[in-house]
Symmetry: C2
Subunit: 112 residues, 2 copies
Amino acid sequence: MGRGHLLSTPPYEVETALKRLGANLRTARLRRNITLADVAKRIGASREVVGEAEHGKPSTSIAIYTALLWSYGLVERLGSLADPATDDEGLRLASLRERRNASTPQPLDDDF
Amino acid sequence: MGRGHLLSTPPYEVETALKRLGANLRTARLRRNITLADVAKRIGASREVVGEAEHGKPSTSIAIYTALLWSYGLVERLGSLADPATDDEGLRLASLRERRNASTPQPLDDDF
DNA sequence: CAAAATTGTCGGTTAAAATCGACATATAAC
DNA sequence: GTTATATGTCGATTTTAACCGACAATTTTG
């Protein structure tokens, strides 16, 4: 995956935010009294990657993190992360001039 | 990466949550009137992966998503995603019995 | 209309993510 | 103490994410 300049050494704020998220996920799991192996099986991933996510590993896929949120019933919060309605800076800029929608050549319904 | 059962076909709720997050990230970028190439260079990633993140690709690393939030000044919201203080289900369970630490199972101190 | 800018896509390369098995080290329970 | 459970770590393998360059398709601008 390339020499992953971002993946290996992310900005400090990114690193700390991920560590905090990982710690929160661990707390959520322990409160629910389930093991790494249990939740890993439930989301269809290996036990290792779940442990790495709980440590805030930056190069771990967002699917792992999101599936953990989902298994704890917290996934709907993800969609409000960059919610345009609460993006104050964006709202301010949008009120000045909304940049017309960028190119989207073909629907191409991406299903990864 | 293994046959990535989760990465290729995540739960429906996970998929939709990621697509919504990606769309929000795109809106945030367009409002700020910057290009994919600009933000990619700013976070130290390739233009492609940023575009993929804006499509909600599950197998993309969380570092990309988080760096985008960071570049838009929204990264602090990530840490509150699974915030133990607002995890109602977790709080309810924690009030019953906290699994971590809390050794010495309190041999039943029913006073009176 | 054409030119410019933005975004999408393709082929090829490289580094590493994710998996599995087995074992070591906590941690909790007996 | 001992046993059982949970988590961390290691090596090896397979899959592929992320990179780069170039080009195609799209949208915006003049």
